[in-house]
């Protein structure tokens, strides 16, 4: 039982080159926690000292921004794709 996290190119050096990482499904906070545990250097990029996603990191579950869902409590179901993207594009 797993979900998939897509990693942006610039961070793939921290995931042994993997563009996608399989993680245990569950709330986003746990998905990120799982990711951070396995790739600690990725973790310090994604989350702040308090463990929350950094201000300029956007997280999408099945292509929807988690801020329109339940934030880090959004449940990621089995087989669903989580996408991490920088928030500073557009306009």
């Amino acid at each position: 039982m797993a979900a998939t996290v897509r990693i942006p190119t610039s961070l793939r050096g921290l995931t042994d080159g993997n563009r996608e990482v399989e993680v245990t499904h569950g709330p986003v906070a746990e998905v990120i926690g799982d990711l951070v545990e396995r790739f600690p250097r990725l973790g310090e990029r994604l989350v702040d000292e308090g463990g929350s996603p950094r201000r300029f990191v956007n997280i999408f579950v099945a292509d929807e921004d988690i801020r329109f869902l339940d934030g880090v409590d959004t449940v990621v179901d089995d087989g669903v794709v989580v996408t991490i993207l920088p928030a500073v594009a557009g306009g």
Partner: protein, 407 residues
């Protein structure tokens, strides 16, 4: 020779080379171009600028690319029109309209695009792209055609038909089933897949610098004086923050003597008002929204520079306000009737906000106000609130029958 020095992260101040990068790979913060201001200050003069081309490239010392090979359709140096009839109508003293509808593709987007595509060529890229609500798409496609670059411009499926048609004549328009924010997410993913220069993704630091020139021109056209108050439409917030940077740079390099604080106010449509809402609530974060407004060119629910725009406005003593779709349409008519300038809804948002701030006393009669009108009304004919009457017979009687009582 550009005097841009490096890219610097706005959050953690790490520096990067002047490459196709847009976020800090340490903290994800946005990257900003910095310059060697001392060298610029030693060389730049008002006379030198006046002798430059009648385009925004007259300010090339303060741009992040070399102007010699600019991808240039003539963007910039648009009219700054004294709007006395509008001012009288709304009880203000000195109002100026910066008429950026008169750019090569009829919106202010030609400013960032001429800079971004010049950078794309400098980097040796052969394909450019963008996430757009319409105006940017039009500008990217036009400048790409001019430079012999391929372009793919991504837009929400529901933007105004005129914008799609005008752009399809110039490049590949990719309509996306979703909102602008969906299009933006898609482009943020495509940048990892294709070796493209996406102007508001991996070329964004350079692209955004182009918007400063609207502030440079404002000051030059006011006789090298700063305005007291400016009203700026807010979509991503980049235009507003870059206008602030533009004023600061002119002071820093010694081109203006007065150093009065310019109040900077933002304008949003009520149907897409994440920055105005945060301002009104005194919040320090911006909650994204799902837009629903006729001002489609401002319909960005998750504004990338929203926090910075909020910060600029608060520090300057301005406000961010929002206006209804009805107020937007009334303002389009008001600007047309008083000043002869036809704007798309984005300009209606800005003028409606000006009207609102004048009514509420936020803008006072003794302020020199500049309002930015950023896109042409012919791009959105469907919202223009007129219904032409049927044709008359080509005779004096025919005219008199229909219009005789009105003349």
């Amino acid at each position: 020779m550009s005097l841009a020095k490096s890219l610097i992260c706005r959050e953690c101040s790490r520096t990067y080379d002047l490459a196709a990068l847009y976020f800090c790979d340490w903290c994800f913060g946005p990257l900003e171009v910095t310059y060697d201001y001392e060298t610029i200050a030693a060389g730049i003069t008002r006379e030198g600028i006046a002798d430059g081309p009648p385009t925004l490239w007259r300010y090339s010392e303060l741009l992040p690319v070399d102007s010699g090979d600019a991808v240039d359709l003539g963007a910039g140096l648009t009219p700054l029109t004294r709007a006395d009839r509008l001012a009288r109508e709304i009880g203000l003293g000195e109002v100026w309209v910066k008429n950026d509808t008169l750019n090569p593709t009829n919106s202010f987007k030609d400013r960032p695009v001429t800079v971004a595509l010049t950078k794309a060529v400098e980097l040796g890229l052969s394909t450019v792209a963008c996430a757009s609500t319409g105006n940017l798409a039009n500008s990217v496609a036009a400048h790409a055609a001019h430079a012999g670059l391929r372009s793919h411009v991504f837009v929400p499926g529901d933007i105004e038909p005129s914008k799609i048609v005008a752009t399809a004549a110039l490049g590949n328009v990719v309509r996306v089933d979703g909102s602008y924010d969906d299009v933006n997410r898609l482009c943020s993913q495509l940048v990892d897949e294709y070796p493209w220069g996406i102007v508001n993704v991996n070329l964004r630091p350079y692209y955004a610098e182009g918007s400063k020139t609207i502030a440079f021109e404002t000051v030059e056209q006011l006789g090298w004086r700063l305005p007291d108050h400016v009203v700026v439409p807010v979509a991503s917030g980049a235009l507003l923050t870059k206008i602030a940077k533009g004023f600061e740079e002119l002071i820093r390099v010694g081109l203006v003597d007065d150093t009065n604080n310019v109040r900077i106010s933002g304008a949003q449509a009520a149907g897409c008002s994440p920055v105005a809402t945060a301002f009104e609530e005194g919040a320090d974060d911006i909650r994204p929204q799902k837009p629903s407004t006729i001002a489609k060119s401002l319909a960005i629910g998750d504004p990338a520079d929203g926090l910075y725009a909020l910060d600029v406005v608060r520090k300057s003593g301005g406000v961010v306000a929002s206006v209804s779709d009805i107020e937007i349409i009334e303002a389009i008519s008001l600007l047309a009737a008083t000043e002869g300038i036809l704007t798309e809804p984005a300009g209606g948002v800005t003028v409606a906000t000006l009207v609102k701030l004048a009514r509420e006393g936020v803008i006072s009669r003794d302020e020199r106000v500049v309002v930015y009108v950023t896109g042409h009304g012919l791009k959105t004919p469907e919202v223009i609130p007129v219904a032409p009457r049927p044709p008359i017979r080509a005779s004096v009687d025919g005219f008199n029958e229909t219009y005789g009582t009105e003349v």
